[in-house]
């Protein structure tokens, strides 16, 4: 099962290495990991997607919490959350195909951020499944390159 784990960590050198090292040393698999600043300049948020059974993920959560500069750990599983990935994707787009491609981009609420003679670069964000779907529909045109973030997430206020 996929778990999105959110860890607030102190903004100190070595924290990322500590977290990554713990995952490697304990043979936990990271599906994706995103680190970024938060509203508090002293804290960063790591959003880590882990796939594993409940027992494994429970250990991941506890082992993360045990790392001294890790301030707070939450597992969003079973909670309503907003989860988003961001992708930049360069698609080969000869003039003849552009109308079709632009329609797709429109449908996926993507944004054209760069345009060249042969390529368009699209910015698209959303749940991971939507990103995957967009990649799939672009495949026939030829994908030149993809840069993706992992998932970031926040629980819904209910």
């Amino acid at each position: 099962m996929k778990h999105i784990i959110s860890a607030l960590v102190e903004n100190k050198p070595g924290v990322l290495a500590h977290v990554a090292g713990m995952f490697a040393a304990r043979a936990f698999n990271i599906d994706s990991l995103v680190v970024g600043r938060t509203e508090d300049i002293n804290l960063s948020r790591m959003t880590i997607v882990v796939i594993g059974d409940d027992k494994v993920v429970e250990q991941v959560r506890k082992q993360l919490a045990k790392i001294v500069p890790v301030v707070k750990v939450q597992d969003f599983v079973g909670q309503p959350v907003v989860a988003r990935d961001l992708m930049l994707i360069a698609i080969s787009a000869p003039a003849a195909k552009r109308p079709e491609i632009f329609a797709l981009i429109e449908m996926f609420k993507g944004k054209v951020v760069d345009i060249g003679v042969k390529l368009v670069m699209v910015e698209i964000s959303g749940p991971e499944a939507k990103i995957e779907a967009f990649i799939n529909v672009c495949k026939p045109y030829g994908i030149k390159s993809v840069a993706r973030t992992g998932t970031i997430a926040m629980p819904r206020q209910i």
């Binding site: 960590v9 102190e10 100190k12 050198p13 070595g14 290495a17 500590h18 090292g21 040393a25 002293n42 027992k55 429970e58 250990q59 506890k62 082992q63 919490a65 045990k66 790392i67 001294v68 500069p69 890790v70 301030v71 707070k72």
Partner: protein, 597 residues
């Protein structure tokens, strides 16, 4: 409790509480009005160490720790120079194990720091509080592959509870206070601080207080009262309970509370290697050590228990054997300060996260005495049928006999350090301990070479105690250079080598699982007697069974560090033994033990 309240270990444990109180206290300078107090980093280190109650340190010199050593030269700190940083780290570790205080070790950058790694990993696995200070190349050179530069925090991150590098002298005092706090609280462990040489030289104003800033470090000592009541109810209901005690009870200084709890609710008690001494082994309720080379009676009791109460223990594979077959009928209660150790290896029915001392006190209030006649009768039967035994009719010296004789002559009161291997298991099986902090052994990492430096560290912590390293020939070979340290500091430690000429434990596995092909497990040993004398210690050899008692006496009477080389049965095995992958009730060697009756 049975241990004398004024035994050295107990009184030191009391001192620990004092030291701890100091940790949260603000530095004295903080209370004075703001007059600038400029100090160098090195001076700040020394002053903060003293403020933390440090009076003894271990460590080795090098280029980038010279500013620090210059300040230590005049400090009221007893400084011990080992012959190798690994030795120094083990000494600090055993100093902590024997005294309950934090062990402190210093090393230079690069090779010095790298030499600490085995010692830190040993302490990490056994949850021992150490603060390690390492020098680092100057901040402007970091990352340039400078002379004697190593990524010390990178290398030691997996073997420390916490580590960091201090690049600004203003952070130094706070970071050192944090290191002591982290090392000694919660589940203890080693903490390393890497300090570039320029930070040691730089000055800063120390008149401002430097309070701990650890938002991510919280300890919950109290335990959930509902879970405590659930645990008590389960214990009260149990017909066949077993108390399974780990090293955590010693770190929590909770041996007294443990004994009171076990007595009030009338429970048999088994201990891990690290917990030996925590419960008096001369009591009939003691099941001694459990696990791979544990007692048959402990292993059978655990396997048949209907309730297993684990305290400060972590269900390690050497203890549990085949995990799926471990304590199959038992409701499992697990009390531990580290939430991550709960349900890590086995599923726990009633978890209680908290400090062993606090929780045992609470639990004792809620448990009732129960006779459990049948259960104790069963246990007595196992104890009678399968005690630890060896063939004492043999004409060669049996290693177990040497340990037994040491136990007899020291009346079970000595501090025992061990090597790793068969010697360690025989020490655990045949030296009966009665007080905590008496048995000092590398359990989790199983570090050969731990014994001698550990004996030195323990003797420094407990100057009046009899400290004996029961060692293996090959374990001793790994760090024997530290004998020279014992000589320099006039420490009357005793090294008893159970010299079988083999890496005995390895040979035992080769005998049992590799068709007696003793691949490379035999070693040509030096003449330990001569070696000891060359280093300024005393040494002698005993190769006749009839001379063992006199040999032990001579070793105990010796005032100098002393190496007694006992030439024991080369192919003796440790029994019982749970082969890898088997449940702990599936012990080999019980027939052999029975045949010696």
């Amino acid at each position: 409790m049975s241990s004398k309240p004024n035994s050295p270990a107990e009184s030191a444990a009391k001192k620990k509480t004092k030291t701890k109180a100091k940790i949260s206290a603000e530095p004295k300078s903080a209370k004075k009005p703001q007059t600038k107090q400029m100090k160098t980093g090195a001076q700040i280190i020394v002053d903060t160490l003293i403020e933390q109650g440090v009076d003894t340190m271990f460590g080795y010199l090098g280029g980038v720790v010279l500013p620090l050593f210059d300040r230590l030269y005049d400090a009221p700190i007893n400084f011990i120079i080992p012959r190798h940083e690994q030795g120094g780290c083990h000494m600090a570790d055993a100093y902590a194990r024997a005294s309950g205080k934090v062990g402190v070790v210093v090393a230079t950058s690069g090779p010095g720091a790298c030499n600490l790694v085995t010692g830190l990993a040993t302490a990490m696995m056994d949850s021992i509080p150490i603060v390690a200070l390492t020098g680092q190349v100057r901040t402007t050179l970091i990352g340039n592959d400078a002379f004697q530069e190593a990524d010390t925090t990178g290398i030691t991150r997996p073997v420390t509870k916490y580590n960091c590098i201090v690049k600004d002298v203003k952070d130094l005092a706070r970071t050192i206070r944090e290191a002591f706090h982290i090392a000694s609280t919660g589940r203890p462990g080693p903490v390393l601080i890497d300090i570039p040489v320029d930070v040691q030289v730089e000055k800063c104003d120390t008149s401002e207080p430097a309070e701990l800033a650890l938002p991510g470090y919280k300890i919950k000592p109290h335990g959930n009262s509902r879970q405590i009541s659930q645990a008590a109810a389960a214990i009260n209901k149990s017909e066949k309970p077993v108390l399974y005690v780990g090293g955590g009870v010693i770190s929590a200084n909770a041996s007294k509370e443990l004994t009171a709890f076990a007595e009030k609710s009338h429970l048999p008690v088994t201990m891990t290697l690290l917990a030996l001494g925590c419960y008096d082994q001369s009591k009939p309720e003691s099941l001694d050590m459990l696990g791979m080379h544990g007692s048959a009676y402990a292993n059978y009791a655990v396997q048949q228990a209907d309730c297993l109460i684990a305290i400060g223990a972590r269900f390690e594979d050497r203890v549990t054997g085949k995990i799926k077959a471990f304590a199959p009928n038992a409701k499992i209660i697990h009390i531990d300060i580290d939430p991550a150790s709960i349900s890590k290896n086995v599923h726990v029915d009633i978890p209680v996260v908290g400090d062993a001392k606090v929780i045992l006190t609470e639990l004792t209030k809620e448990v009732e005495f129960r006779q459990r006649k049948e259960w104790f009768a069963k246990i007595a039967e196992w104890k009678k049928k399968f005690p630890f035994r060896y063939d004492n009719n043999s004409s060669v010296i049996k290693p177990q006999y040497v340990v037994e004789e040491i136990c007899r002559q020291t009346k079970g009161k000595a501090i025992i350090a061990t090597g790793v291997g068969q010697n360690q298991m025989w020490a655990a099986q045949f030296y009966k301990c009665s007080v905590p902090r008496q048995f000092i052994s590398s359990g989790g990492l199983g570090t050969m070479g731990f014994g001698l430096p550990a004996a030195i560290g323990a003797q420094i912590a407990m100057p009046n105690a009899t400290v004996i390293d029961i060692d293996g020939d090959n374990s001793f070979n790994m760090t024997m250079t530290e004998l020279s340290t014992a000589v320099q500091y006039k420490l009357p430690i005793k090294v008893c080598i159970l010299n079988n000429g083999y890496m005995g434990m390895v040979r035992q596995w080769q005998e049992l699982f590799y068709n007696k092909r003793y691949a490379m497990s035999h070693i040509e040993n030096p003449e330990y007697e001569k070696l000891a004398k060359a280093l300024g210690a005393e040494g002698f050899m005993v190769d006749k069974k009839a001379d063992v008692a006199a040999g032990v006496k001579r070793m105990l009477d010796e005032k100098k560090p002393c190496v007694a080389d006992f030439r024991v049965e080369p192919e003796e095995n440790v029994w019982p033994m749970v082969p890898a992958g088997k449940g702990i009730h599936e012990m080999d060697g019980l027939d052999i033990l029975e045949s010696m009756a």
